[in-house]
């Protein structure tokens, strides 16, 4: 690709065919993304904390729900098998509702913290466009940063939240609570939480970043927050 470019002539703006900006290699974008996270460490941590909290909430709900769902209904009150079944169904609906609610809460939390962190960098996006960054490079950069933060924060958030939820159940039911926690369900909820965390983080970052990258550079430069 590079070889097809006509060399620049001093003093002239337009050189001829093939003078098109090419996408930077991914490795370069990756190293710039990592530098952005490292240098903005505390800002990145605060952003990541927003994701962590959301996913911790989701993890805690999962931990409690799974145990509750698998706790056998005590038949002390002499319930019929049918009534016990109904009670179990009701518990399940309630748990589903709780998980959905916590998913919404965590979506709002993550979207808020990621939106803020992109908006405060609109001017930087405008500057990079002036220096020759392609729109796709800017989006890649934010995608990598968000993906990295999302993965780390989701794992930590899940670990903290899930453990917390399970501990609460242990306090409530005693150590046998652990018997009602099928490992497969635990792994499944880890998968769901991390996927939700990463997808939400990336979406909430890339959507505004794409919008800013598409703006004329002058408009991105003007934005002050």
């Amino acid at each position: 690709m590079e070889s097809a470019q006509t060399p620049n002539q001093p003093g002239r703006l337009i050189g001829g065919a093939g003078q098109r900006q090419v996408q930077l290699p991914l490795a370069k974008a990756f190293s710039i993304a990592m530098q952005n996270i490292r240098v903005r460490f505390w800002r990145s941590m605060i952003t990541a904390a927003g994701v962590m909290l959301g996913i911790a909430f989701l993890g805690a709900t999962f931990g409690q729900s799974i145990i509750e769902e698998n706790t056998p209904v005590k038949n002390a009150q002499g319930l019929s098998a049918q009534q016990a079944q109904i009670q179990k169904e009701e518990a399940k609906t309630r748990q589903n509702w709780l998980v959905s609610m916590s998913l919404i809460v965590c979506t709002v939390g993550i979207a808020n913290s990621m939106f803020m962190s992109v908006t405060e960098r609109f001017k930087e996006i405008g500057t990079m466009k002036c220096l020759g960054a392609l729109d796709s490079f800017i989006v890649t950069l934010f995608l990598l940063e968000a993906g990295f933060l999302g993965v780390i924060a989701s794992f930590i958030g899940f670990a903290v939240g899930f453990l917390g939820g399970v501990l609460m159940k242990i306090f409530q039911l005693g150590p046998e609570a652990l018997e009602y926690l099928p490992p497969l369900r635990a792994i499944q909820s880890l998968g769901i939480s991390v996927a939700a965390g990463v997808i939400l983080t990336v979406l909430a970052t890339v959507m505004p970043a794409m919008k800013a990258a598409k703006l004329p550079a002058a408009a991105a430069l003007r934005s002050e927050i």
Binding site: P10, G11, L13, I14, M128, A133, P216
Partner: protein
């Protein structure tokens, strides 16, 4: 004009109009601007605040599109360039300097200067070497590892100037480069730009309120209310002022 006149004009604007629409109201920031800029020239755009200097600067630099009219660079209509061609142009052929410096805050002075070279695909050691050399030219070789927040306004603007020269551009666009600097630092920055213009043959178009700029400009374009009011050659001003004051120097 000679037969080779196609090579003479680096930038020409033809009937450039820019309208901004806000809340149903339309504001005409530029009302049909025709400006021809010669290769190697040093031009100052002068005019009161809100007269449209930055708007014109954005049109010439390909940072925004005119509502009507055309901007030609090397006789090519900028509207014909696609995103990748525009990015190439912004990366390697035009250097931008802003009133607010616009350095990348997380990067050191050297990283800021090398960023355009990275975008141009220059290998890291070659770009670092050239970055250091440019920082030395602007007198900041010893501060290469400092972040923008650790530099004074004048120093940040020097970094921005070094950055604008990273890929040996043909055109430097400077929007009030001395606007946030004190008088002495402003003069140094202007002199630096003039030296680059003289030594490297780079065309400079600079928007300014700063009358010191008159001293170094080949032509001064006065803009008022979105239109070109008049254009003066420096020689003419020198002569008229010389007659008035009985000396060749400017009062400013």
């Amino acid at each position: 004009m000679s037969a080779g006149s196609g090579h003479e004009w680096i930038v020409r604007t033809k009937g450039v109009v820019k309208e901004y629409t806000m809340g149903g109201q339309t504001l005409r920031a530029l009302k049909g601007v025709d400006l021809d800029v010669r290769r190697g020239e040093y031009i100052s755009l002068m005019g009161p605040s809100g007269s449209g200097k930055s708007t014109l600067f954005n049109m010439i630099g390909g940072l925004d599109k005119p509502s009507e009219g055309n901007v030609f660079i090397d006789e090519v209509d900028m509207a014909q360039l696609d995103a990748a061609e525009l990015a190439y142009l912004r990366c390697r052929r035009i250097g931008y300097i802003f009133q607010t410096f616009n350095l990348i805050p997380v990067m050191t002075a050297l990283e800021n200067v090398t960023l355009p070279m990275i975008f141009a695909g220059v290998p890291s050691d070659a770009s670092a070497e050239k970055g250091m050399q440019l920082l030395k030219v602007v007198g900041l070789g010893h501060r290469y590892h400092h972040k923008p927040t650790e530099l004074s306004g004048g120093q940040q603007q020097r970094v921005a100037i070094a950055r604008s020269f990273a890929n040996d551009p043909a055109l430097i666009l400077a929007d009030e480069p001395t606007g946030n600097l004190d008088g002495k630092t402003g003069t140094e920055i202007i002199e630096l730009l003039r030296t680059m213009n003289k030594d490297r043959g780079v065309t400079v178009i600079s928007a300014t309120h700063d009358l010191k700029m008159v001293d170094v400009s080949d032509r001064i374009v006065y803009i008022s209310d979105g239109q070109i009011e008049r254009i003066e050659n420096r020689e003419d001003i020198k002569i008229s002022l010389g007659e008035m004051h009985g000396s060749g120097g400017l009062a400013h």
